[in-house]
Symmetry: C2
Subunit: 407 residues, 2 copies
Amino acid sequence: MFEAYWDAHKGNCVQLTFANERLSYFVKSKANNNGLWFVFEGLDDAIRDLHRLVGNAVVEDRHILVGTGSTQLFQAAAFALSKHQKIDASTAVVAEAPYYSCYPRAIEYYESRILHWAGDAKKYVSSSKESYIEIVTSPNNPCGAPRQAAVVDNGLGSNAAGFLVHDLAYYWPTFTPISAAADHDIMLFTLSKCTGHGGSRIGWAIVKELAIAQKMAQFIELNTIGVSQDAQVRATGLIRAIMKGYNSNSQLIKSLGPLDAAPAADHLVQPAAVAAAKDSGHDEELLLLQDLIPERQFFHFGKAMMEARWKGVRAALAGNQSVTVQDPSAPAHCTFMGTTSTTYPAFIWLKSIKEPAEDCQRFLKSKLGILARAGEAFGVSNQYARVSLVGRESEVAVLLHRLAALK
Amino acid sequence: MFEAYWDAHKGNCVQLTFANERLSYFVKSKANNNGLWFVFEGLDDAIRDLHRLVGNAVVEDRHILVGTGSTQLFQAAAFALSKHQKIDASTAVVAEAPYYSCYPRAIEYYESRILHWAGDAKKYVSSSKESYIEIVTSPNNPCGAPRQAAVVDNGLGSNAAGFLVHDLAYYWPTFTPISAAADHDIMLFTLSKCTGHGGSRIGWAIVKELAIAQKMAQFIELNTIGVSQDAQVRATGLIRAIMKGYNSNSQLIKSLGPLDAAPAADHLVQPAAVAAAKDSGHDEELLLLQDLIPERQFFHFGKAMMEARWKGVRAALAGNQSVTVQDPSAPAHCTFMGTTSTTYPAFIWLKSIKEPAEDCQRFLKSKLGILARAGEAFGVSNQYARVSLVGRESEVAVLLHRLAALK
């Protein structure tokens, strides 16, 4: 979805690499002293500066650990925490349903004696016989809702033998108003949902306790002997490019006041046209006009695009009798944007409301040719299905067109 | 060790990256059709062309799977083969001792129910009750010896329930004469030991059976959702840079005759000087003169450097009464170089020969300030220790100087 932005601003991060650069596994870095030997110092700095600019996570007195995508960091955290606890039993890993479909797969694939997937956090009751890890995804994948820890306290005190891992992949102004700087023990972010460069495979964890960060680094050392330096250098440049758009650098950040309000996104989308085309059966007017996207700051661009897409989704689905879509959240103030808005989730979370109950993913595929992921993968019934809203503008246009055909 | 080469030839691979490149996880590739969706087609092509040029591995009708270093591919192979077999018991993973110290750690860290490290392949007896995976490292890490499968056949027929994985990281003209194109079920290579760019974290597997390659790809998908595209693009350029040095491209390779013999390496090294300095106590003459390294073809450069280093090692250790070093192999013809030579292992594999038996790693550290890895990590006694010979030229000069102090 960010391709149009980077096409327009491709010169904002031009990197030149010679053959004699980055031969070694090892990098000169202040993090070396802490055993986080593969973290490129420039990236560590850029990540901290970006969070200071956006205000979405506390980075002071925290350790930054880079991973080959946040997927590797999730596994690193699970193994590290499991080895960190003192109860001699397999550690349960849970998340409130619907949960990101990759979590159970990533835990179960190893068939580890020290970790097992235990499903929905709301149904899990902590005990003194095993420790648990709850992964809190906020905003949540698939539904976009804000989330907090959900494990039932069994009278052992809060988080008796439990650890929390916060997956904040979507906690950017693009997708949700930033209410405060998140401050949890382990927070995961990914370049993929920040700048859009999923192909680089760069994620990062912000970790409070050095001992945990070191155990996570050990997993990454055993798993892949560190993280590609080429990818880390690229990520550094891309993050700096976003910051340049806000005329920001690490020295200036703290003195920055609230930014200008986001420009109105109305010229990006034609919700009225969507509704009209739905009525009239005319297809062409459903197309979102990528050409109209103006030059603007990255998060403002992203938020405007998501706002436009969601207007399109709600218009396309208005009045249909087949599916419901997640409600918009109550409008909230965004400390970064300085404006008030609802969330704009990365995914459409649909529920089939036909009687008798229908498989939503199959329905979408057979009736509309829309590819979705079925609810069961997310720990709920197949009445639900997830549809991506972060593809290319042309794909979203086709998607909205097909959704609008729903009766 | 290849830094001097790339410093002199840094312009041979200059890559320019704009912000709008490689956003997606997915790449357009012919391998997509086979489920190897994250393999960059340009790298697949470059790897095949390089092996055709060097003649060290069969690539026709084989699948190329890229990994985040060959470490990830080793784990991918172990999990894939374990899930591929039909015996309902944990699969044993073995390697002939001394074996690469990372194998047991990489298998044991997961504490998996479906895989366990079972130590020395020479002591492992196959049975019908469990399947096994033998990793054959040739030339071997730590000792440089050529290796073949070593599991004892228990009357069940060769490899009754066994799978072989060949780690050919060091099977390049740099380290050993190339006798023939290796042709095994699963062969692992790594950019780190080929071009020297360990920091990129790129390895590759050449796999005969598509079903196995797909299961390995599934591990990498769950583990890291593919492999950094930035790193894959860089690896492609570096491999092409080496090939350009041989005026080679995919069209020309098959018509290439034997290459010119490697230039004599005598001007690179002063074995006589090493011996003389050892006698006289003069330090300065032990320095290998990096400035003298001439412009030359990559593998010829690497081989000449390793030959020079080994001359230095043997001269430094001549006549000492403390340690023995692995014998040179019998000279063999290299189909790539067109010359005959011994192997030049990446590591010095030392054995303390003092009475009573001494811990070689501790001895090297306390007496000479030499950092080594102790034998136990490689599945043998601590009378043995491994010292790297693939560091920077300046480091090797210090190493040789210290070794020469041995009595």
